[in-house]
Amino acid sequence: MLSRTFIDIAIFIIFFVVLFVEILVSQKTNLEIEGLDKKITVLQKFRSEGFKNLEERLNSIRETLFEKVNPLNINLNELSKRTDDLFEKYNSILQEIDRKVAPLQTSFDDALAGINSSQEAMSNALKEGEKEIKKMTESIDAFREEIRKIKDFIRERTIDLEL
């Protein structure tokens, strides 16, 4: 019986020791959790403050940018408008030029074709001329040779008659 009581007591003590340890651990954990909570809270606070700051800064930047970009935007619009105007004017000028140039182009094409054909004709004429000149030169040379022969012939015939 005694031994049983001792075991029971031992178990009881162990139980209480374990319980105590557990309580201690639990308390420590709770404390840590609390610490963490506090840290989280602080962090959350920092974060919300950071966000706030960041948002403020972003807004500030956005405003600054807007301030700076807006005039540019206005200028750009004006420029775009001017470009459009210019483009329109350019188109109208081009159309006007086309309208005026079209007949000229046709006549220019005709003239060019005419020039080309004239050039070709001239080239052919020149070639023909060269051939003709060559032929004429040959004829003249042959004629010169013929004249020389005739002169020789007349001279020799004259001698024959003298003899």
Binding site: R155, R157, I159, E162, L163
Partner: protein, 304 residues
């Protein structure tokens, strides 16, 4: 059938009977080949050179054995006569300077000579039915003038200057005017075999024409003058060679005086005067030399 006035020329080797005796058949054949080649070259070149249109159109010619026959009928008889005379002299020159004769003379023998007969007369150009039956398509020239010229040619060996004999037809045309610078010897009345009457023929003793040597075929031109000079200086040359050579000297002197040539011409003229009966042509040439070459006087004074 067409009646035309033609100039007919016959030529053959004067000494062919002697040649047939002295040469072997092969040697005679070689000579004949040389002879025919020479004639072919001279005749074809000449007819082309002087503008004859073509065989059967205004001329025809054949060579058979040692006999050449040319018939010219361009329609201009003076032109045909002049060409026949030119051809006669040219074939004589070409044969004289031919390889065969050069060999003969080198061996110390007398050169083989060509006799020529020329005459003019009416002939008929016709294609007889029997000729058509044997496949001939070209008209033939026939007529008594051809036979007569053949007889005239057979008398050429009697000639003493050129051995070119002409008939009455050609002689009378040449006497009508002086268009052809030709002189004839005394007429000879000869009776030919087969003819019942005598025929008058004349020898050409002078035919002055500057075209003879320059219009020779190019294959004969090289060294032609030198060969003729050798022939002229070799023993007793035929008299016509001296006249041709002297005339060619005058042509050269007309282009420019050369004292050496004048001296050669004067020597040749002296040589010709010794052998020629008809001296007028030589006196004329001497007259030309003295009139146109100053050095001729100097040479005369020096006793040449």
């Amino acid at each position: 059938m067409e009646e035309i006035i033609a100039t007919i020329l016959f030529a053959d080797l004067i000494d062919s009977p002697e040649l047939t005796r002295e040469l072997t058949v092969q040697e005679y054949n070689e000579m004949l080949t040389d002879f025919q080649n020479t004639l072919f070259e001279v005749v074809t070149h000449h007819l082309d050179f002087y503008g004859y249109e073509g065989y059967g159109i205004d001329y025809e010619w054949t060579v058979e054995g040692d006999e050449l026959r040319i018939i010219l009928y361009s329609g201009q008889v003076h032109f045909d006569i002049r060409n026949a005379l030119l051809l006669a002299i040219k074939i004589k020159i070409a044969w004289l300077v031919s390889p065969f004769n050069q060999r003969v003379m080198k061996d110390g023998y007398q050169a083989s000579r060509i006799g020529v007969g020329i005459d003019c007369g009416k002939v008929i150009k016709d294609l007889k039915p029997w000729r058509m039956k044997i496949g001939e398509t070209r008209p033939k020239i026939e007529g008594y003038a051809i036979n007569r010229t053949k007889h005239i040619e057979s008398a050429s060996r009697e000639g003493r200057v050129s051995q070119i004999m002409v008939g009455e037809g050609l002689y009378s045309i040449c006497q009508l005017n002086n268009r052809i610078n030709i002189s004839f010897g005394q007429p000879q009345n000869l009776l030919f075999k087969g003819l019942d009457q005598k025929m008058q023929i004349y020898e050409v003793v002078s035919f002055i024409n500057f075209e003879i040597l320059p219009s020779m075929p190019s294959s004969f031109q090289e060294g032609l003058l030198e060969k003729m000079e050798r022939i002229a200086g070799n023993g007793a040359p035929e008299p016509w060679v001296l006249i041709i050579l002297l005339r060619s000297y005058i042509s050269m002197l007309a282009s420019g005086e050369d004292e050496t040539l004048v001296a050669k011409a004067l020597d040749l003229a002296q040589q010709a005067l010794k052998v020629l009966d008809y001296k007028v042509v030589i006196y004329n040439m001497l007259g030309w030399l003295y009139s146109n070459c100053k050095s001729a006087h100097t040479l005369k004074l020096a006793g040449r």
